[in-house]
């Protein structure tokens, strides 16, 4: 999907929210997913998120995100599964065997609890990423800058953050075009060994570097043409203000946060 990691233009309730409301949502949910380790609480949060995604018509983009990070999530699950296999946990197990190496006794124990642990950590990571992505999908970089400025973040910082989100899609597009251009003149990037593929990807990094440097140069020239001076007070054409939608979304955020915390304490199993 070409618009991965980019703002998607549409007219959903999430898009109409004040960017500051979405920033608050991002901060609260990031903190929450960093601390909550209860599977039930995380599952509840996932359901809340899913409802938000579906009602704001960004479900297919989140599904796309899930497909992109599935290897990472699988790796996290497997990692906890493997680490857990060398610890005997109480509760049902799938396979357990004792063995001796050099006179030392060990137990290999594949418990259901290890699966639970792997799933919890994978879900936490996915929720963390998806919170960020939810905001990015529904907030364009101009709104990000406006929102940050209204929180008195220095304009140089706000502009820098906005610029990153403006440039990321450009760099992705440049990379794709360079790969196409090189393969068009004979560089094999499809049917070749993994080592050759890596080598060829390194080869294209040079034109990409030059293009990115060129873009950076052009952007700095444009900043000069537009008389951008971070020391000067800047005014604004657009103003942002909260509406009743922000109040509703804020209430949903508070209720789901409290509910998640309650569920966390009710169903917490030490990991």
């Amino acid at each position: 999907m070409g618009d991965f990691l980019q703002y998607v233009e549409m007219d959903s309730f999430l898009h109409r929210l004040d960017p500051r409301t979405k920033f608050m949502f991002f901060i609260v949910m990031s903190v929450l997913t960093s601390f909550v380790k209860s599977g039930v609480a995380l599952l509840f949060l996932f359901v809340v998120f899913t409802v938000i995604w579906i009602t704001s018509h960004i479900g297919k983009y989140m599904f796309e995100l899930l497909k992109k990070v599935k290897v990472l999530l699988l790796f996290i699950s497997l990692l906890w599964l493997v680490l857990g296999a060398f610890t005997v946990n109480p509760g049902p197990f799938i396979y357990r065997v004792a063995y001796t190496i050099l006179g030392n006794s060990y137990t290999f124990s594949l418990d259901w609890f290890d699966f639970y642990k792997g799933a919890v950590f994978a879900m936490r990571v996915f929720l963390m990423i998806s919170v960020f992505y939810t905001v990015i999908l529904s907030t364009n970089f101009s709104q990000i800058i406006l929102g940050l400025r209204s929180w008195n973040v220095p304009y140089s910082v706000a502009f820098g953050i906005g610029l990153v989100f403006q440039i990321i899609p450009i760099i992705i597009k440049e990379f794709t075009t360079i790969m196409e251009a090189q393969s068009s003149r004979g560089l094999e990037v499809d049917k070749c060994s993994a080592a050759a593929k890596i080598k060829n990807y390194i080869i294209v990094s040079l034109p990409l570097l030059f293009r990115v440097l060129g873009k950076g140069h052009s952007i700095s020239l444009a900043m000069h043409y537009y008389k951008l001076n971070f020391k000067m007070k800047r005014t604004s054409y657009k103003l942002i203000k909260a509406s009743y939608l922000d109040a509703i979304f804020g209430a949903v955020t508070v209720i789901s946060t409290v509910s998640t915390i309650v569920l966390h304490f009710m169903f917490y199993i030490p990991l």
Binding site: N140, S142, S184, G186, E188, K215, H224, Y226, Y237, K238
Partner: protein, 550 residues
């Protein structure tokens, strides 16, 4: 009020050579001034000095002379790539960016945004995101964003170089509006053809020196300087230049209507208009696209049932506005895109099972921007890249001789990215010479080239054809297309409108009108005067006029 450039000399470091040498001229208020000159003559450095980039941002050079303007004079630049210049997600965000930086009150910002939206007639774009605009619309928004800052001088650096005919029309309209509003404008572009109606004053630079400073008519009268500067001039002016070399007493003409009048005086009324179509010998179709359809994930249908056969040893141009499916079509020919339906056959065999690199042994696509292709450490290595990637043997002497033929030998050990834009483009095209490919596709090959380099490109194309290769060219330079092409394929909204010889299509002005592309003046005039065959370049047209006179 005027703005005076006073004896400016500049070099980028104390050790390097002078890029500008005692440059002096005057930019007159309310006029459109063109700065022209061949690739590498110092135009970009001059823009950097006029806009204050030198010495504000680039301050290590050696700078003499002065640009005499008052301190509060505001000078802004519109670059050739608006996507690098527009800050903001939406059109309103991008337009207001500069005036927000000036610290103006909200009411004044709103007033200025409305003013430029009205002036350039782009109110309908205001709620759009910049990313969804066409090239011409983006450039118009870029001009609006700069105009909102009320610059005393507006500098435009090759503003239409990557635009299609619709985009050029839009910028021409914008420039006319600016001229009427009394905006002082400087256009840096070696292609005078698209803005010849608007320009008042021409400054010519060669090797960092001013070699011409005069009004437009003086420039068009000075044939020698036009050729030295490598400026692409309107074909009507070129026709006048060439005929007047051979016929005494010809009155000047700068437009098609004037040409009809003046040439008509020479050769009389038009004939009855029976034209003989030249039927070119048909050759074997080396590459065939059958029923190509392409639908993208979002449902957009980029190609709809396109059939096309490409004959061996011919030059075929693909015409159409941006978004007509030209690039999508050629990306199917070399396997970068796979069709939703239909097939591509090279020498009768489907290419579907091959990778792009495997197909490149037969069909090579040279991309529009050379920076996407250049990555070797030296010009020599870059030239031989295709051959090495394809495992084709070549002799060093052969490669060096190619560099020598096209004036690149002195740069053979240079980093390719240090070449001028036109040279980089030539190098990427030349690198195909040593490959085994029989079909060569060039996407907008004239980007960044001056007239001298365009002539070199014509030579390279002839060289390919003499080797029996087939050339497929995407270009918006219609006079050049008619000059070098055997056949034309016209696409519109993903549908093939026509595919025939240029002689046949020259008679189908209805098709060209439907896609808003003007036929070249030589074609229009040939038809007007009822020549026995439609001319496709200035030389053949002049020959025909002389023949009629005799």
């Amino acid at each position: 009020m005027s703005f005076i450039v006073n004896g400016i000399s500049y070099k980028y470091s104390p050790e390097s050579k002078l890029v500008l040498k005692d440059v002096s001229f005057e930019v007159k208020e309310g006029q459109v001034t063109a700065i022209v000159g061949p690739s590498g003559c110092g135009k970009s450095t001059l823009v950097s000095i006029l806009s204050g980039v030198i010495p504000t941002l680039i301050n290590r050079g050696v700078y003499e002379g002065s640009f005499d303007v008052q301190e509060k004079i505001n000078i802004s630049v519109v670059s050739q790539t608006p996507e690098n210049q527009l800050f903001g997600y939406g059109v309103e965000d991008a337009i207001s960016f500069g005036i927000e930086n000036m610290g103006l009150g909200t009411d004044e910002i709103i007033e200025r945004v409305e003013y430029v939206l009205d002036l350039l007639n782009i109110q309908h774009l205001r709620k759009r995101s910049v990313a969804t605009l066409s090239g011409g619309q983006r450039q118009a928004v870029c001009i609006a964003s700069v105009l909102a800052m009320r610059p005393d001088i507006l500098i435009m650096d090759e503003p239409v170089s990557s635009l299609d005919p619709n985009g050029k029309d839009m910028i021409q309209y914008v420039l006319n509006q600016l001229r009427e509003s009394g905006q002082t404008t400087v256009i840096v572009d070696n292609n005078l053809a698209w803005f010849s109606d608007i320009v008042d004053h021409v400054i010519g630079l060669i090797d960092g020196k001013v070699v011409f400073d005069g009004d437009k008519n003086e420039f068009y009268d000075d044939f020698e300087i036009q050729e030295k500067l490598g400026v692409t001039i309107p074909q009507e002016v070129e026709i006048y230049r060439e005929i007047s070399k051979k016929v005494k007493g010809l009155n000047k003409f700068y437009s098609i209507d004037e040409a009809k009048l003046e040439i008509g005086r020479l050769i009389g009324k038009k004939d009855d208009g029976t034209q003989n179509n030249i039927h070119l010998l048909k050759t074997e179709e080396i590459l065939v696209a059958e029923g190509l359809c392409k639908s993208f994930q979002d449902g957009f249908r980029a190609l709809i049932d396109v059939d096309a056969g490409f004959e061996k040893g011919k030059v075929i141009s693909i015409l159409g506005q941006n978004g007509s499916g030209k690039t999508t079509f050629v990306k199917h020919l070399n396997g970068l895109l796979r069709p939703t339906k239909g097939t591509v056959k090279y020498k009768g065999i489907e290419t579907s099972g091959k990778t792009v690199a495997q197909i490149s042994k037969d069909i090579i696509l040279v991309f529009q921007h050379p920076e996407h292709m250049l990555f070797e450490e030296t010009v020599y290595q870059e030239l031989t890249f295709c051959a090495r990637a394809q495992g084709i043997e070549f002799k060093e002497e052969e490669a060096l001789s190619i560099l020598r033929d096209y004036d690149l030998l002195e740069y053979k050990d240079e980093l390719p990215v240090n070449l001028s834009m036109g040279q980089k483009h030539l190098l990427t095209i030349l690198s195909v010479l040593l490959s085994s490919a029989e079909v060569i596709i060039l996407d907008e090959p004239t980007l960044g080239m001056d007239l001298h380099q365009k002539n070199t490109l014509e030579d390279i194309i002839k060289r390919f054809i003499s080797q029996g290769k087939t050339m497929i060219i995407i270009s918006h330079e219609i006079p050049l297309v008619f000059k070098i092409t055997d056949q034309i394929l016209i696409l519109n909204d993903g549908i093939k409108l026509a595919h025939d010889s240029k002689q046949v299509l020259a008679n189908r002005s209805d098709i060209f009108e439907s896609i808003n592309i003007d036929l070249p003046p030589v074609v229009i005039l040939s038809k007007h005067f009822g020549f026995s065959q439609i001319c496709s370049d200035t030389n053949s047209f002049v020959q025909e006029v002389i023949h009629r006179l005799a």
